[in-house]
Amino acid sequence: MAIEITQRLDARNLSCPMPIVKTAVAIKGLAPGQLLEVLATDPGSVKDFAAWSSTTGNELVEQGVEDGVYRFVLRRK
């Protein structure tokens, strides 16, 4: 099933806690069920996004890394 990204957020070159803070703000603009894609370069974001997803209930649908850029896809709760 192809996934449809509603919004993209560039959090590259930002350090903790900015990727999470920006994600939290951005995801509020989505309707429940819509997807947000976040790009980050902070290596700590791998664990941080998993923790944030479990705390807030916004599902981490996909994640990966390519050329040092981490990619997270989150579904708005």
């Binding site: 350090s15 903790c16 900015m18 999470i20 803070v21 939290a24 703000v25 705390t55 209930g57 709760k77």
Partner: protein, 193 residues
């Protein structure tokens, strides 16, 4: 002693993000790291650059995670609430001298070690820029935009001779220790920073 989970009364105040982490009425074991807390109060006492940095990082991240966050600014920590452009504050000579020796405002904090007359903070700010780290002032602004409540300590405000117009906008009315302890008594965990 057991760690109390947030009571039902607090639950009503929570926004939809936090409601997913609804508190379990059963007391959690003291060592539990998995308990989901829905509120936190940070007590910003030190006023040190590095600790205020930690305070604002925790506050903004907690707000981003759907938690109800308050920061109680007291004593040296209170200086972070003074408008950064203010130079001389206070009513009498002692208070005025204090503000000269210890320049108020979140943009003028000192490191608790390696301050070197301001060399340390200057280097920290350069490093922060280089590594994309947001500064305490920026983090506090964002935290407040996300609904973090800023509670100024009435006693510090009085003792330093500060007036409401000396302080930044968007903060709550000054409160005392009883307000902070009231929140703790209701189950909100507190961090003294």
């Amino acid at each position: 002693m057991t760690v109390m989970t947030a009571p039902e009364k607090l639950d009503e105040l929570l926004d939809e993000e936090a409601r997913g982490a609804a508190p379990d009425p059963a007391p959690a074991p003291e060592t539990s790291g998995s308990t989901k807390t829905s509120s936190v109060i940070l007590i910003a006492e030190s006023g040190d650059l590095e600790k205020t940095w930690a305070t604002t990082i925790l506050a903004s991240t907690a707000a981003a995670s759907g938690m109800q966050v308050s920061i109680f600014f007291t004593f040296w920590g209170f200086m972070a609430l003074v408008r950064p452009e203010k130079r001389l504050v206070g009513e009498n000579w002692m208070q005025k001298m204090l503000s000269v020796m210890n320049r108020p405002g979140i943009d003028h904090l000192k490191l608790s070690r390696l301050n070197f007359m301001g060399m340390g903070p200057w280097m920290m700010n350069r490093l922060a820029k280089q590594y994309g780290v947001a500064k305490p002032g920026e983090l506090l602004e964002m935290a407040m935009a996300m609904g973090v409540k800023i509670l100024p300590c009435q006693m510090s405000m009085d003792m330093f001779g500060l007036k409401r117009e000396d302080l930044i906008d968007g903060i709550e009315e000054p409160v005392g220790a009883a307000t902070v302890l009231g929140m703790i008594a209701e189950g909100t965990p507190a961090l003294f920073i």
